[in-house]
Amino acid sequence: MDVGIVGYGVYIPRYRIRVEEIAKVWGENPESVKRGLLVEEKSVPGPDEDTATIAVEAARNAVKQAGIDPQDIGAIYIGSESHPYAVKPTATIVAEAIEATPDLTAADYEFACKAGTAGIQTCMGLVEAGMIKYGMAIGSDTAQGAPGDALEYTAAAGGGAFIVGKNGSETLAAIEGTYSYTTDTPDFWRRDMRPYPRHGGRFTGKPAYYKHVLSAANGLLRQLQLTPQDFAYAIFHQPNGKFPMHAAKELGFSREQVAPGLLTPMIGNTYSGSTMIGLAAVLDQARPGERILAVSYGSGAGSDAFSIVVRDGIENKRDAAPKVLDYANRKVYIEYATYAKFRKLLVK
């Protein structure tokens, strides 16, 4: 495989709500919620933000970091489960806002939390086949959790954008392999015209998240004949803080390998943005030569695993755009009433 990452960018809204604030409304014990989910707070989109605006800021950061002419982007895929329109692509809005139109192909993807990484794979194929020079894959979400549901503590907002191109002097990391594991597993879904998803409670763990994440990671390690010790970092999809830590342990990765890419305790689960923001946080600090494992998970269900090797090019590029921690640390706390207003939960 001769493709790599030419640039990446992220965006996280500045509003945060603490677990305590949500637990207070529903009469739950915040300490047991925090202990159970390993989440302290989550990001909340402002009233003028949605999946498209989040994707645009992440995409603009990626273009700035890559230092490429956006007219050379031949494909844009946006993964989300909260596209602003049911019919009308988010991808065209983003393509226009980064001035990549009109000579490109574009589409929206949907696969719960892994549609963004599915976009990376599509771009890898198109680049490898010589059909496009650069492809952009974005995972962006303003996740929905029904009021009072366990998901309300974690359903957050954010996005990550990756530009894929042929390996060369401009790639900051090479993608040396990818492997996916997919089955029909009804662990989480949202029916048409319904505002909130439903989930299978504890069923979302073993037969869903763990089975797919572990199978994809093991499949990739087998394919590339690598072991956890060959990696400096590992990122696993993070619906909460607990699942990725367990998955890492099960596979033989240490806490130190996982911690730099674990953002959910600070910002919540950004769904399609989750693995991509985690990967971006690792790239923000990784050194040339280091190897990174990234494994997404989308309910329904499937996992995409990637092995990425950081290249020298990263040193010159990574300061060109805001980093994950710049956005993660830039925050304003809101109370539940403001959250309810921002998320349009109030009936007028």
Binding site: R14, G46, P47, D48, E49, D50, A52, T53, V56, E57, R60, P84, Y85, I93, E96, A97, E99, K341, F342
Partner: protein
């Protein structure tokens, strides 16, 4: 706003595409088809303005325009862009008391409104304070 008008203005609203006169170098936003200084001697071409600017003046809206009721009190500012043109825009992601005349802002991409619940969504620029 009607759909055709919104669509026509997408380059201006998404990417601050104005016009530059090749004769007198004046930068205009929104773009015009005739240079107000050079008239028929003018040579107007599309020009993408830089997103950075500063707050020239502002007001705090307590009585909202239609569609902005949930955002009061919000800040409306006259922003002077680095390239010269001045435009009116909301300052997003801020408390009104955070904004001062002279503050540096960058123009960001946000939702401006929607035609109706099942109508088209309007996107465009708002200012955001650049905090040191």
């Amino acid at each position: 706003m009607a759909v055709p008008r919104f669509w026509r203005e997408i380059p201006n609203r998404y990417n601050l595409v104005g016009a530059r006169c090749g004769n007198c170098n004046k930068i205009l936003f929104p773009p015009r088809s005739i240079c107000p200084s050079c008239r028929r001697m003018g040579k107007l071409e599309p020009y993408r303005l830089k997103r950075q600017g500063k707050v020239l003046s502002y007001t705090v809206a307590h009585v909202a325009a239609e569609g902005f009721e949930d955002q009061v009190p919000y800040v409306l500012a006259i922003i002077e862009l680095e390239d010269g043109p001045r435009l009116t825009a909301q300052i997003t992601d801020c408390n009104p008391d955070e904004v001062k005349i002279g503050d540096e802002v960058e123009m960001v991409f946000r939702r401006m409104g929607e035609e109706s619940q099942d109508g088209v969504i309007y996107y465009g620029f708002k200012g955001r304070l650049i905090k040191p």
